[in-house]
Subunit: 145 residues, 2 copies
Amino acid sequence: MSENVLDDLLRKNGLKVTKGRKEVLKLMEEKKDLPMKAEQVYDLIPRSVCASLSTVYRILNQLSEKGLLKSMLYQNGIMYYQYDSGEHRHYIVCSKCGKVAALENCPMDAFDNYIRKDTGFDITGHIFELTGICPDCKEHAESRE
Amino acid sequence: MSENVLDDLLRKNGLKVTKGRKEVLKLMEEKKDLPMKAEQVYDLIPRSVCASLSTVYRILNQLSEKGLLKSMLYQNGIMYYQYDSGEHRHYIVCSKCGKVAALENCPMDAFDNYIRKDTGFDITGHIFELTGICPDCKEHAESRE
DNA sequence: GTGGATGCAAACCATTTGCACGCCA
DNA sequence: TGGCGTGCAAATGGTTTGCATCCAC
């Protein structure tokens, strides 16, 4: 995605175009399949562009509020951020090596109606956190760890 | 569930039977359909039985380690604990009034195989957080809020 | 009696915030 | 130029921990 598109994306959402916001958004777009925590983002950005972790937090939260990023709190108590391409997706994370794979479909979609009938609730959202062992780790289970 | 059964449950799991542990486990068993945070548990227990919040945390964590309770970190950053009757269950929480309803089945079960084929991962666990609007709140949407 | 359990206060740690300075529109 | 953005350090808040005391076994 070109620089200009990202700039426009920022402007369109009422955010001033600054070095920091551009860099964070570009990075998140490049890594769109990888949920990242603030510290990882901070480490991947030159100090000349953004010198403080708190600014990274501020930028990530602004982008999330505007819907450019999704954020979710993992069970380890750390917030992960991810570029929101608009598609509704879930990921599975390998408990051993941390590898991430995307699910093609959201298993929940098929159950919206079922749950409405079962409980009478209208579903407004869901969070899904999957853990598993990836094929590589399964294969090397005996040699590693 | 009688006092003795709870005592046995504690002993069987290598935990000394103390006033605090008994009371917490009893309470959690009574409210088995309601995920509760440490502070709520603390508020529902007489100070004479357990005087400090940190002890409640310690007890809740011990019971969780032994598998007597389930714990999950909600998106609001607060840990909720719940009696683990052994059944695998998910709950939906009303965003307006906080009412909790249990799902009869786990939607994920049907998808284990699908996900294995899709990603090659063996699934070792999943966290599910549903939010929605309960029938009551839906009905009173216009009068309240 | 003794080792684990508890109470209290201090520590933790990811995240947020206050304030002074600096930069984009 | 004026107001928003940023850096730094201090605050926050749920949770954990160190240590002295107390209780279950």
